[in-house]
Each structure stands twice: as structure tokens, then as C-alpha cells.
Symmetry: C2
Subunit: 411 residues, 2 copies
């Protein structure tokens, strides 16, 4: 008997017919004697519809009221799924984030989980019930409903799995695993049977959209056995996300990812004073702006530097406001921004021991006539910011997928 | 400066445009310096849609999961209304029933309010905010979401008004007050400027559908100044619901009501033992069946009685199950039931001092060829159960409205 946490995304519970199918899949596990906690998202379309309604009454609603509004989406799904399980004789109980005791900070619309209370979980599991919990939401110490931001249901599932030391955390989605590239862009991507947390983290952050990056982060920290699989073809094995140690050999390049939800900000002539960069990014952090790539380059004038960085597109104007407010105090020059950019990345845990990977990437892009605007590297990835126009992005992904023979993985 | 509780029903907040109109009406009051607590219903159609979804996964869902599901409807409305107020510069905060501290018993889908905590209310009013509270819902001592049943938002508003001793409780709805009869049935009904709690209670219970009967009950017990008015024509004065003492003279008959949501159960040959009727209705009460009219008639055989009573239509089969389970123990005879009946009532606080009112009602119905199956009277009303077929019910209402000259009230 294992303790399993499962998560079903919006398309997996998109209709009542789909919800009944999910109930059948859960029943398969309970019949084998497993204990289950199931986190679910809002039905696909629900959240967008609620956001539309909000826009009709207020073009800039407060985060608190957005959380109040959006948290209803998951609450509908948990009730329906618990009813569907009851109908097929599987005892189940739905719990909202607050009822589940998912305590978060009070950063509305992008809250972070602080702790999970085990008392209700234990009570319901001991009563032989499947727990259906609303993903994406929690409660702050001030008794306010909070949400974790888009994709937060993954984080809910992994955080619960980590907290109760579950034997397995299964993320059910509309694809049957993690691929070497987005199948909508590349013709012959390979499905990966296994991938490391680090690789998955980079791919998730880079817009592969299979798992929310925060969920992978939590899984890595707490070593949660994670599996990504299809809710539509439940008989298929998915992709296991494991420790580096769990892999016999690491692939040099595991995948290519693109991310169009990125924007670039440049600050020119920043005085070369110790701590000035720290201050800029501290302020951005305080304003809850997620800064991604940061590049500082020396100029000819040794007394000043240029600093460039990327942020998610919807944080762009907020970030520029923050920077503008610092201009007088810090005495830097012009601030420029652009949102017609995209980030292309290659990821692979074996990269660190294979020289020449970055060079091969730059050459490949150059051969396609694609200009590189920013470069950032880590031990397991190389990212380039390029212009997002025409079919630039798809061309970059396909040519890199070819160059690194990713279509041949596992074949 | 007054402390006012307002309630807006489902059609009053049915669209985002309507929600903005409601926000404008609230702003009118805050500009005059009043403090406001506003209870709202789910947008019209939302609850029915959720019930439909539930039916698609389970034809007999548990009350607990229904409450989990249905409580989302009001939560959507409170968030949208708080956003709309914020947009026009009126500080507001939405609170769910649980956040508002509305403690109920645990009778899911028809819970009763036990107490209302004032700490959050005081905090938000002191902060100068309009409180927008989700009607219809509360929380049990076991931290479960409960709902008060259809029309429960009225009860929420009146219970809050009673609890905080508000100066006024305004119920905004899609009609501009209480009429002498349903305008969809009678051609020339009169609008009442004022009506007593008792009359309103009878009319509400009898299916006039302007106010939920429980809300009137609470208003009466706590002497809450209550007003029913239109959210579509906010400039119109509505109907005030007051104490008997508040009226100079009572009308003999104030209104005629019909209720098709009624069913009849007859138990034959009930042994004439002391306490047997008490036991039957105690068991029905324990099973949460709302029994309305009760009639016990002696038969020729002095050792047994026949007992008839009415219940809401959707409680019929549940009630019959309860009765059947008592048959062996109590040794009564046949149990019969019928749901093709309707209840017609005339209501008026002056009735008690005007003899012949009941007789006039019976004669009027008889002249229309309508047979009376059951009769029940109180100090301020006479109710008759008749067959519900053809245009029987409408004919009964119109003829009584004419007979008592209700079209001439206030004219």
C-alpha cells in the first residue's frame, strides 16, 4: 500500500465526462489498496472566463479580490470530482486550500506555501477517504484566500507530497510525458522516459509548460518521486523526474525550449558603485517581479556599466516603473525595453562534461541567420534571447533539435 | 450616519453591467455617510447551472458536496462587486460566509445560522470599508462550508442586521415591493406601502416569493426594520415591513397567495393513542422535512383517526419513506400521497376582528366550481388546498383578489 498524490490539470477535468474518467482512474488505484490525495485545477476555460468578468467591472482589480474570484474555479472541480467518486462507490471528501490547511504568505495572486497542516489530512485518510483538494489556493495567516499563480496546482500537489512524504506524486496532464521539444513546433520530438529535476527545472522555467517550475523546485528540494503522465491515455507510462543519481548516464542535450513570454529591459550607464546592482534587483524582488536572465557588461567608459535583464511579459511595465523610480537616486542613464523577444534554450545534465555545446548552439542559430541579443549559461543549459518575429522562434527550435539529434533519443 | 444592511438578489447582479449599477447604488449611500454591509446572491442562472453539472456526475450528490459546489456562486459575485466598487473609488472588501464568521449548524443545504462573529465586521467598518458578504452560506463548527437553502441570502442579510442592530435592512429585488397578489396571475394587484411581519411571514411562506420566510421570521423576532425595493428602479420607495404597532389600521385582507410547490400525505386509521401524532411529526422533523398544514379528523370508528398534512413537493418521497418506516411500530393503515395539489391563501392582520372572512373565501371558491380538499386557519390567514389542474389555481387567486377588493387598496 502506497501513499500517492495525484494532480489533474484543467483539460483533464474540462468536462463532467472527463471528471468521471478521472474518477475511474482514481478508483483503479484505491482498488489496489493505495491511499490517495488528489489536487485538481479549475476546469479549462473557467479561469479565463472569470478573468474576463473581472475585466468588465475593473481594469485593474486588486490581487486580493482576484484571488477571491479565481479560487472558485478549483472549488467547483473538487466538489464535482468528490461527487463522481461517491457515485462509483469510492469514499471521497473535497477540501478547499484553507480547509486543507495550506498556509501561504500574503502575496496575493502569487503566494508561496509556508506550511501544510496534517491534522485534517490524517483524519480523512484514516477514515478511508480519498482527499480531493483544490489546487492553486491557500490561506494566509490573516484568514485571506490566496492563490499561487498560474500552474500553481502542480505546486500544491508536489508540496503536499513533500509534506506528507508521499511515495509518489503523479502529475496528470494532456500530454503523455516530457518531450525533447514542443510537438507543436518540432515534427519528430522524442519522449523522455526519465529526466533529472535540474533538467526539468530548466525546461519548466523555459516555457516547456509541462510542469510549473516552482513545483519542480519543491520536488527537487524534498526529493519527491515525480511522474508526468497522460490523463487521456492512463495506460501509458509517462516521464519520471528523478535525481541525477537515478540516471545511469546523462544525455548531453535533453531538450530545446522556447519562451515567448519574455521581455527585455536595458539600463545604460549605471555608475560602477559596489552594491548598485544588488539594490536594483532587491527592489525588483520586493515588487514581486521575477527577473530571469541578468547580464552586466562593461562599457568603454570604465566608470559605468550597462545592465540588461529579462522579465515575464506581464511584469514588464511594472518593472520599468520600479526602475524609473530609482533613476534619480542612482543616477543611471537611459532605460529601454522591448517585448518583441523570445528565449531559446537547450538543456542537458551531461552538458557540463561535454565541451563545445554552447558553440554548436551559436553556430546553428547563426547558420539560420538568427541574431543573438543576450546569452546566459548554467551548468546544464544555454539560453539565448533572439528577436521574436516571423517564424524565427520555430526555426531556431527546429534547427537546434536537428543539430543535437534529439529525434533519435531512445531510438 | 446610519448602519444599513442591503441585500441584492440574483437578477440584481445577473450581469457585470447590473453589478456596476448595484455599485452605483451603494455609492449613493456611502456618499451620504452611511456604513454599509451588503449581502449578495449568486448571479441568476449560476446556481441552476452548478446543479446541472452536479447531476451529470451524480444523480444523488451529498449535501456536503453540494454546499461546497453551490457556495462558489456567491463568492464570484462578492469579488466582482468589490472590484466594481473599488473602480468607482468606494473602498470595499468581500468576505465569504466563513470569513464573515457566520456560524451555522451542520444541516447541509438547509443550515440554520447559530451566531455571527462581529470582530471582522467591526475591523472592516472601522477601516471605512463597505463589506460585501456572500449570502446563503456559512461555516459549521467542524469547519465545513454550509448553505442555508434557496433564498438564504435574505436570511443572511436580516440575520446580520439583527446581530449588529442595523438601523435598516433593505432587500433589493426585481420587483418594487410587495403586492396583493402575483402580478403574473392577477391583472390589477395593488402595491402595499407597508405590511406587518406576520402578514409578510404568511405571504412569504405561502409562495409570494418576494422574501424568504426564514428571513421574515428573523426580522420579526429581532424587530429588524425591513424594506423590500427594486434594484432596477432604485428611486422608487418599496414596501416597509413593520410591527403591528407600526400600522394605524390593519387591512382585513392584505394579499392572496398561491403555492404549487406543495404535496399532500394522508395516513389512515392511526390508533387513537396519546402522543402518536407527536411521534410522527417528531420523526419528520428529525428527518428535516418541513411539514406545513396538519389536519387530524376523527373517523366513525372512534379508536382510530385519519391524519393529513402537506410538505414541499421535493420533500414528498423522503417524507413517505419516513412514514412507511413507522408503519409497523405504530400500526396505522394505508398511506396515500398526491402532488397534484396547490395551496391558496388569503392573509390579513385585520382578519381576526372581522368575522365571515373564511366563509367568504369558501363561497368564492365554491362559486368558481373549485373543490376544497383541506382547510387550515390562523389568526391572520386562511389556507385551502385545492387540486392543481387546468387554470384552477389562477382562477382561485383572481376570484379571491376580486372578492376582497384588493385592486382598490391605496386607491
Amino acid at each position: 500500500m502506497a501513499l500517492i498524490v495525484q494532480k489533474y490539470g484543467g483539460t483533464s477535468v474540462g468536462t463532467t465526462e472527463r471528471i468521471r474518467k478521472v474518477a475511474d482512474n482514481i478508483a483503479k488505484f484505491t482498488k489496489q489498496g493505495h491511499q490517495l490525495i488528489v489536487a485538481v485545477s479549475a476546469q479549462s476555460g473557467t479561469t479565463d472566463n472569470l478573468i474576463k468578468l473581472a475585466g468588465e467591472v475593473n481594469d485593474n482589480p486588486s490581487g486580493r479580490e482576484m484571488d477571491m474570484l479565481l479560487s472558485t474555479g478549483e472549488q467547483i472541480t473538487i466538489a464535482l470530482l468528490a461527487m463522481a467518486l461517491d457515485k462509483i462507490g469510492v469514499p471521497a471528501i473535497s477540501l478547499t486550500g484553507p480547509q486543507m490547511g495550506i498556509l501561504t504568505d500574503n502575496a496575493h495572486t502569487k503566494a508561496r506555501i509556508l506550511s501544510i497542516d496534517h491534522s485534517r489530512i490524517k483524519k480523512e485518510l484514516n477514515a478511508g477517504k480519498v482527499i480531493i483538494v483544490a489546487g492553486f489556493q491557500g490561506i494566509s495567516e490573516e484568514n485571506e484566500i490566496t492563490t499561487l499563480g498560474r500552474g500553481g496546482s502542480d505546486t500544491t500537489a508536489v508540496a503536499i507530497a513533500a509534506s506528507i512524504k508521499a511515495d509518489l506524486c503523479e502529475i496528470y496532464t494532456d500530454v503523455d510525458g516530457v518531450y525533447t521539444a514542443d510537438p507543436r513546433i518540432v515534427k519528430n520530438p522524442s519522449k523522455l522516459n526519465v529526466i533529472t529535476y535540474d533538467e526539468m527545472l530548466e525546461l519548466a522555467s523555459l516555457g516547456a509548460k509541462v510542469l510549473h517550475p516552482r513545483s519542480v523546485e519543491v520536488a527537487k528540494i524534498h526529493n519527491v518521486p515525480l511522474s508526468v503522465r497522460s490523463s487521456f491515455e492512463t495506460e501509458k507510462e509517462g516521464t519520471f523526474v528523478v535525481n541525477k543519481e537515478g540516471l545511469e548516464k546523462n544525455l548531453v542535450v535533453t531538450g530545446v525550449a522556447s519562451d515567448k513570454n519574455t521581455a527585455k529591459i536595458g539600463i545604460f550607464d549605471v555608475p560602477d558603485t559596489p552594491g548598485i546592482a544588488a539594490k536594483i534587483f532587491e527592489r525588483l524582488g520586493q515588487a514581486n517581479v521575477n527577473v530571469d536572465m541578468i547580464i552586466q557588461s562593461a562599457t568603454r567608459n570604465k566608470k559605468v556599466n550597462d545592465i540588461s535583464f529579462t522579465v515575464p511579459k506581464n511584469d514588464l511595465y511594472h518593472a520599468v516603473d520600479v526602475i524609473d523610480s530609482l533613476q534619480e537616486e542612482m543616477g543611471f542613464g537611459e532605460v529601454v525595453c522591448a517585448d518583441d523577444v523570445a528565449k531559446i534554450s537547450i538543456v542537458g545534465a551531461g552538458m557540463v562534461s561535454s565541451p563545445g555545446v554552447a558553440a554548436k548552439m551559436f553556430t546553428t542559430l547563426s547558420n539560420e541567420g538568427i541574431n543573438i541579443e543576450m546569452i546566459s549559461t548554467s551548468e546544464i543549459k544555454v539560453s539565448c534571447v533572439i528577436k521574436n518575429y516571423g517564424d524565427n522562434v520555430n526555426k531556431a527550435v527546429c534547427s537546434l533539435h536537428d543539430a543535437f539529434d534529439l529525434d533519435k533519443i531512445g531510438k
